[in-house]
Assembly symmetry: C2
Homo-oligomer: 221 residues x 2
C-alpha cells in the first residue's frame, strides 16, 4: 500500500513536469502566432489549453485523494501541498499563453506587435520559456540550486519590460494607441508567466529544503 502510494506521488510529480513542458510549448507557439500573425497557430494554442485545464483538474483530484487516504507527513505532505500549488501556477501560465494567442487572433491579419517591438517580445518569450523549462527541470531533478537561479532570470524579464515601457512612453510613439495597449497587455502577460515560473521554483525549493526561500525576489511565492 505504501509502495503504491509512493508510486502515485511520483506519478503526480512526473505529470507536473509534463504539464510544464506543455506550457513551454504553449508559450513558444503563442509567441510565433503573435509575431507572425499566424491565425491557425493561435487557434491551436487556444484549443490545446483545454488539455492543460483537464490535467489541472486530474492532478488536483489525485493530490486530494493522496491527502485523504494516506495522511502524509513531513516531506511527502510538503510535496503534495506544493504540487497542488504548482498545478495552479501551471494552468495559469497556460491561460496567459492563451491570452497572447487571443490578441494575435483579434488583430489578425494585422500583426499586433509593431516591428520596433518585435525583438523585445522575442527576448521576453525566450526568457519566459527558459524560466518555465528551468522550473520544470528543477522539479524533476529536485534541484533547489537551479530553482534559486530563476530569481535572476526574473530580473532579466523586468529589464525587458522596462525597456518596453521606455519605447512605449518615449517622446514619440510612432504607432497607434491600439498597438500601445496591446503591447502593454502582452508585456504584462509574459511578465506574469515569468512570475509564475519563479513562484513554481520557490515551491521546488520548499519541497527539497523544507523552507520557503526568503527575499524580495520571492515576494510572489
Amino acid at each position: 500500500m505504501r509502495e503504491a502510494y509512493r508510486e502515485d506521488l511520483s506519478s503526480v510529480v512526473e505529470d507536473l513536469v509534463l504539464m510544464t513542458e506543455r506550457v513551454v510549448t504553449a508559450v513558444h507557439l503563442s509567441t510565433r502566432a503573435l509575431l507572425e500573425a499566424d491565425l491557425a497557430l493561435a487557434e491551436q494554442v487556444i484549443t490545446d489549453d483545454a488539455v492543460l485545464d483537464a490535467q489541472h483538474d486530474d492532478l488536483e483530484a489525485r493530490c486530494f485523494v493522496l491527502l485523504a487516504r494516506q495522511a502524509p507527513v513531513a516531506g511527502e505532505l510538503r510535496t503534495i501541498v506544493a504540487a497542488m500549488r504548482m498545478v495552479a501556477d501551471l494552468v495559469r501560465m497556460g491561460d496567459l499563453a492563451c491570452h497572447v494567442a487571443k490578441i494575435a487572433r483579434l488583430r489578425y491579419p494585422t500583426k499586433a506587435v509593431p516591428e520596433g517591438l518585435v525583438p523585445n517580445f522575442e527576448l521576453m518569450a525566450r526568457v519566459a520559456e527558459g524560466m518555465v523549462a528551468t522550473a520544470g527541470r528543477a522539479l524533476s531533478e529536485r534541484n533547489a540550486h537551479d530553482a534559486a537561479k530563476l530569481a535572476d532570470s526574473d530580473e532579466e524579464m523586468d529589464e525587458l519590460r522596462k525597456s518596453q515601457f521606455r519605447i512605449l512612453l518615449g517622446t514619440e510613439w510612432p504607432y497607434s494607441v491600439e498597438a500601445a495597449v496591446d503591447v502593454a497587455l502582452l508585456g504584462r502577460y509574459y511578465e506574469r508567466i515569468a512570475d509564475h515560473a519563479v513562484i513554481m521554483a520557490s515551491r521546488v525549493i520548499y519541497v527539497v529544503t523544507g523552507n520557503h526561500p526568503a527575499g524580495d525576489n520571492w515576494t510572489y511565492a
Copy 2:
C-alpha cells in the same frame, strides 16, 4: 484534542474572512488614491500590503500544521485545502490593489486616469469591492447560493472592461499614449481582482457542497 482542532480550523476560516475585509479596504483606498491622486493614501495601501503578506504566511503555516497533525478527511480536508487556495487568492488581490496604488504614486501629482474614464473606474472598483465582500460573506456564512451569484457580477465587470476598451480604441483617443497604457493595465488589475473573487467563491461552493462548480463562468477556478 479534536475539539481544539475544530477551533483551530474555524479560526483559520475567521482569519480568511478578516483578510477578505482587509482586501476590500485595500481596493477601496487604492481606488481613491488613484482617482484623487492622493500620494499619502497610495503609500498607505502599499505599506499595509505587508500585513496581508504576513497573514498569508501565517494562515498557510497553520493549514499545513492542521494537515500534518490531524489527518483530516472529508469536509474538514476540503475546508483546509480550500483555505490554502483562498489565502493565495486573497494575497494576490492585495498585490493587485498595490499595483493600482503604485500607478497612482508613479503619476503623482498628475491623475493617472483621464477625466473621461473616471466614472468607468469608479464602477469597476465598486463592482470589484462588492465581489470581494460577497465572497468573504459567503465564506463566513457557508452560503453557496450567494457565492454562485458572483459569476453574474463578473459579467458586469467584463462589460465595464469592454466599454473601457471602446473608449480606449475609439476613433479619437483625446489623451496621451501614457494614459492609454495606464488605463489598459489598471483595467486589467481590477478585472483580475474580480476574477480572484470568483475563484474564491467557487472554493466556497466546493467547501459547502463538496463539488466544484461547472461552466465557463468558473473557468479560472
